[in-house]
């Protein structure tokens, strides 16, 4: 196992959103605007990084039978820290993402990486895995959010692409649009994966 491989694993090969299909709840819910994708991705990456770090560090002191509650305690702590810090220093972003932040606790990506990776690997590799998975998740939901924002609202990062009053496909901003976009993206990514065999 090389360091570089661990880091890039989450970007494409095991992209948490498109390949592992974990954490679909936030992926569908927050991707109405590209900026939300980046904000949610950054918050999740932070939590993922620190939960992986601490779980890898403490893995020998975590009795197997109570590992899940202990993982959740660690994850929930970092989520609450993110919540408080965002509320204090980036109130605008917090307004946009506020309701989704507590949901990071139950984001399967984080618990999934703790269970599948951090509790079996060293601190160094767990940090790399956390960063890689976090960036992979951020890229994936930002891409999804950009597509939805462009088609549904005619804007990208709030910049208008169309003339005022131009008709857009509102469906893409609504929940069904999330499922449609998600479905197409999974299909495309898996097709590319087959062709290029990465």
């Amino acid at each position: 196992m090389s360091a570089l491989k661990t880091l890039t694993n989450g970007l494409l090969k095991e992209n948490p959103t498109f390949v592992l299909v974990l954490g679909t709840c936030p992926s569908l819910a927050v991707t109405t605007a590209a900026i939300n994708g980046i904000g949610m991705g950054a918050a999740t990456t932070f939590v993922l990084l620190f939960s992986n770090l601490f779980i890898a560090l403490l893995k020998n002191w975590i009795p197997n039978k109570v590992r899940i509650p202990l993982f959740i305690v660690i994850i929930a702590t970092f989520v609450t820290i993110v919540d408080l810090v965002m509320q204090a220093y980036t109130p605008d972003l917090y307004n946009a993402l506020g309701v989704f932040i507590p949901l990071i606790v139950v984001n399967c990506i984080i618990l999934g990486r703790a269970e599948a990776f951090a509790q079996k690997n060293s601190v160094f590799y767990s940090i790399l895995d956390g960063i890689g998975m976090g960036i992979g998740f951020t890229m994936a939901i930002t891409l999804m959010a950009s597509i939805r924002e462009i088609i549904g609202n005619g804007t990208i990062f709030g910049i208008h692409l169309l003339a005022d009053g131009a008709k857009t496909v509102l469906l893409f901003i609504m929940p069904p649009g999330a499922f449609i976009t998600y479905g197409f993206l999974i299909a495309i990514v898996n097709r590319l994966k087959k062709i290029y065999n990465f």
């Binding site: 109405t32 605007a33 893995k59 020998n60 002191w61 975590i62 009795p63 197997n64 039978k65 109570v66 509650p69 202990l70 305690v73 660690i74 929930a76 702590t77 609450t80 820290i81 408080l84 810090v85 509320q87 204090a88 220093y89 109130p91 307004n95 309701v99 924002e149 549904g152 609202n153 857009t168 509102l170 901003i173 609504m174």
Partner: protein, 189 residues
């Protein structure tokens, strides 16, 4: 590498207790250092909204707030010298498309709407969320809740609803009328 500890009643209880205690302490610490910036950010938001919806003032309306429903329905009298120049009312509606939103409505002393500002909303982006844009909310300027009928045209009023977001537009009118009711009781003789 150290050996992984076994799962028995003692180790499970002790680890659960220790982890929870340490994490709780960490959270308490973060809470104590972020409390002040959080309060400041909240107050800043309210102050900005007040400044937007009433004419220039020189008192501190936030400190003279008249609370009707804690955190939801509050009035902030804006004064220049001793003269009342306007009243900002923080108001809410629960008829919104996504539950609730809260806005700030500014009245001149005679009850005319000076301006409105959105404080907190989670309406559908691209649809109801357009209520933050001037093309919708500027139409309330200079309207008077008793001389003008503040409801959407579909309901026989004078307000142009946002395209495909009649519910949000109705909710906005509802919030304004709630603000006017409390304003009237306090300031109109």
């Amino acid at each position: 590498m150290a050996k992984k500890i076994k799962s028995n009643l003692l180790t499970m209880s002790v680890t659960l207790f220790l982890f929870s205690a340490v994490m709780a302490a960490a959270l308490g610490y973060v809470y104590s250092i972020t409390k002040e910036p959080i309060d400041l950010a909240k107050a800043q938001k309210v102050n900005n909204a007040i400044a937007e919806v009433v004419p220039a003032f020189d008192n501190k309306p936030n400190e003279e707030a008249i609370v009707i429903e804690e955190g939801k329905l509050e009035m902030y009298p804006a004064k220049k010298g001793d003269e009342l120049v306007g009243v900002a009312v923080k108001t809410y509606t629960n008829k919104a498309f996504s539950g609730e939103f809260s806005i700030m409505v500014g009245f001149l002393p005679d009850g005319t709407i000076y301006n409105t500002a959105v404080l907190d909303q989670k309406e559908t982006p691209g649809l109801g969320a357009k209520m933050v844009e001037p093309s919708f909310k500027d139409q309330f300027k200079k309207m008077h809740p008793e001389k003008n009928k503040i409801s959407v045209k579909k309901d026989g009023g004078e307000v142009d609803a946002i395209t495909a977001s009649t519910i949000t537009s109705r909710a906005y009118c509802d919030a304004i009328m709630r603000a006017y009711d409390v304003f009237k009781k306090q300031f109109v003789k």
